[in-house]
């Protein structure tokens, strides 16, 4: 079992969701996050005062998958989020030691699927 965490541009979320859906990955958690990578910030002005915004709005996806879904999920995220520009985001894959479905008490790979 793996936990795939991806940080992407917010406006690519619809495309990523579509790509994941097409790859039969239906379970996903999405959160709004702030952060910065290699992408430069943008200048924001408020009532005449200009400041550089360093922390950018990003979207964080968390998807728990069984082994055979790892590569299709990664491919789908890349497919939806890649523009070849700095700031497209990153994908992290970590081992997942346990997964429990609260409703039934099922554990492990059965609980994910």
């Amino acid at each position: 079992m793996k936990l795939i965490i991806a940080i992407i541009q917010p406006h690519h979320l619809p495309a990523v969701k579509k790509a994941l859906f097409d790859a039969q990955v239906y379970k996903i958690t999405v959160s709004n996050v702030l952060g910065c990578g290699e992408e430069k910030g943008y200048a924001e002005t408020y009532r005449g005062v200009m400041h550089e915004v360093e922390l950018l709005k990003k979207v964080r996806l968390e998807i728990a998958v069984n082994e055979d879904f790892v590569e299709p999920t990664i491919a789908a995220i890349i497919n939806g989020a890649r523009t070849n520009n700095v700031g497209d985001g990153k994908i992290f894959v970590t081992d997942l030691t346990e997964c429990i479905r609260i409703r039934t008490g099922e554990r492990g790979t059965r609980a994910i699927g």
Binding site: P10, H11, L13, N32, A43, E44, M50, K57, V59
Partner: protein, 438 residues
């Protein structure tokens, strides 16, 4: 009725000497002037209503941009209508456009009303026609191009059509009856929005490649609702104020009740239609229905009885829902329903004069349902379709020219990030956790 007249006369007598010193040849009707100014203030406040409706129906990332557009179109309408607009609309009685009164110089208001009071009322109407369009072109139109468009429509396009009907132009001579502007204001605004949104093409992600529409939801329905209530209130200046006087309280009162009943019936009919078609009573469509009823009653408000005002409201409310559905089928992306509400119901309201109008209430001819045959209906059709035709052709040219010179649409990347940051470098809800993902 008697009391008001007596009071008016007393006021005129009391103030006559003061007026005589400054403007020797003019006697103003105090009550009428007061009424027209109050109505002008109410119509002005409709700008707030439009701003809130449009802000609530767009996504949070475009809210500041739509507010700027709503603010600036009234500013440019005020200046444009002062420099050119009023002269074109009311300057002289030529058939096509007026030719005198630039900067309001060398010109007088109508009998009994100060020029400046009449101008303020008409300028507020002009601003209404201009502001309808921002909603239809929302979330993707360049701000600078919007400023240029606002000036052109309020200085030239709206005044020319207004002149035909209200300024002594060729339609006025044909007994065309558009009491408060179903055609002159709303159809002009609605069809300009249609041309604009058609040329802009749909928002990014609105339609899939197979043509099915995606959901792009507004971000604040309470704002939309407050906006509609404000518009409803403003309409009590828009329609009853178009009497330009208070000498016949019965007419003003009839217009008021008709306006209210049509709005109520429009909302109920739209709610019922949406409920039947989509399974739930949809708030946004019901609010559109209230506005549809108001637009529908705007032309016939003075010449129909209250029962017919209800029928007009119901038909407008239903028409507006089908208009929203048709537009989506045609893949024309109108984020706030500006065309179904103002364009379609503007035409319908104008034609309703030829269906429900009665000579007894001041219509030029009895309508089709009152034994007048097709005469008035034909005149109404000629008036509304010629006005709409001129609007579509002239605004097509204007938008094409702006597109060639400055570009109409923002870049795809700016549209995705949102026009608030892209055009104005700021957010509407800084510090709030709002999903800006879609």
């Amino acid at each position: 009725m008697k009391t008001v007249l007596v009071l008016g006369n007393i006021l005129i007598i009391l103030t006559a000497p003061a007026l005589a010193e400054t403007t020797p040849a003019t006697t103003y009707n105090i009550i009428d002037t007061f009424w027209v100014l109050i109505a002008a203030f109410l119509v002005f406040f409709m700008q707030a209503g439009f701003a809130l409706v449009e802000a609530g129906l767009v996504r949070a990332k475009n809210a500041a941009n739509i507010m700027m557009k709503n603010l600036l179109d009234f500013c440019l309408a005020s200046i444009g209508f002062f420099i050119f607009g009023y002269a074109i609309m009311f300057g002289t009685n030529d058939p096509l456009f007026g030719k005198k009164g630039w900067f309001l110089m060398d010109i007088q208001g109508p009998d009994g009303l100060p020029l400046f009071a009449f101008w303020m009322f008409q300028a507020a109407f002009c601003g209404t026609a201009a502001t309808i369009v921002s909603g239809g072109m929302a979330e993707r139109m360049k701000f600078t191009s919007y400023l240029i468009y606002s000036f052109i429509i309020s200085a030239f396009i709206y005044p020319i059509i207004g002149h035909w009907t209200w300024g002594g132009g060729w339609l006025a001579g044909l007994d065309f009856h558009d009491f408060a502007g179903s055609t002159v204001v709303h159809a002009v605004g609605g069809f300009t929005a249609l041309v604009g949104t058609y040329l802009l093409k749909p928002r990014f992600g609105k339609y899939n490649s197979d043509g099915s529409p995606n959901l792009i939801t507004g971000h604040n329905m309470p704002l939309v609702t407050l906006g509609v209530f404000i518009l409803w209130l403003g309409w009590f200046g828009f329609n009853p104020g178009s009497t330009l006087g208070f000498s016949d309280p019965e007419v003003v009162s009839r217009i008021t009740i008709n306006t209210n009943l049509a709005a109520a019936a429009g909302a109920i009919a739209a709610m019922a239609t949406a409920w039947a078609k989509f399974g739930k009573p949809d708030l946004a469509l019901t609010l559109n229905g209230a506005l549809a009823g108001l637009v529908g009653i705007t032309a016939p408000c003075a010449v129909v009885n209250p029962m017919n005002a209800i029928y007009i409201g119901i038909l407008a409310g239903i028409l507006c829902i089908y208009g929203v559905i048709w537009l989506d089928k045609l893949k024309i992306d109108d984020p706030v329903g500006a065309f179904p509400v103002h364009g379609l119901c503007g035409i319908f309201g104008t034609l309703a004069v030829g269906l429900f109008g009665q000579i007894a209430f001041g219509a030029p001819n009895d309508g089709l349902f009152y034994g007048g045959g097709f005469k008035q209906l034909g005149i109404q059709a000629l008036g509304t379709f010629s006005s709409v035709g001129f609007t579509v052709i002239s605004m097509w040219i204007v938008f094409k020219a702006i597109d060639a010179l400055f570009g109409l649409r923002v870049t795809e990347n700016e549209e995705l990030i949102g026009l608030d940051i892209g055009e104005h470098g700021m957010e509407s809800y800084s510090g709030f956790q709002i999903f800006i993902t879609e």
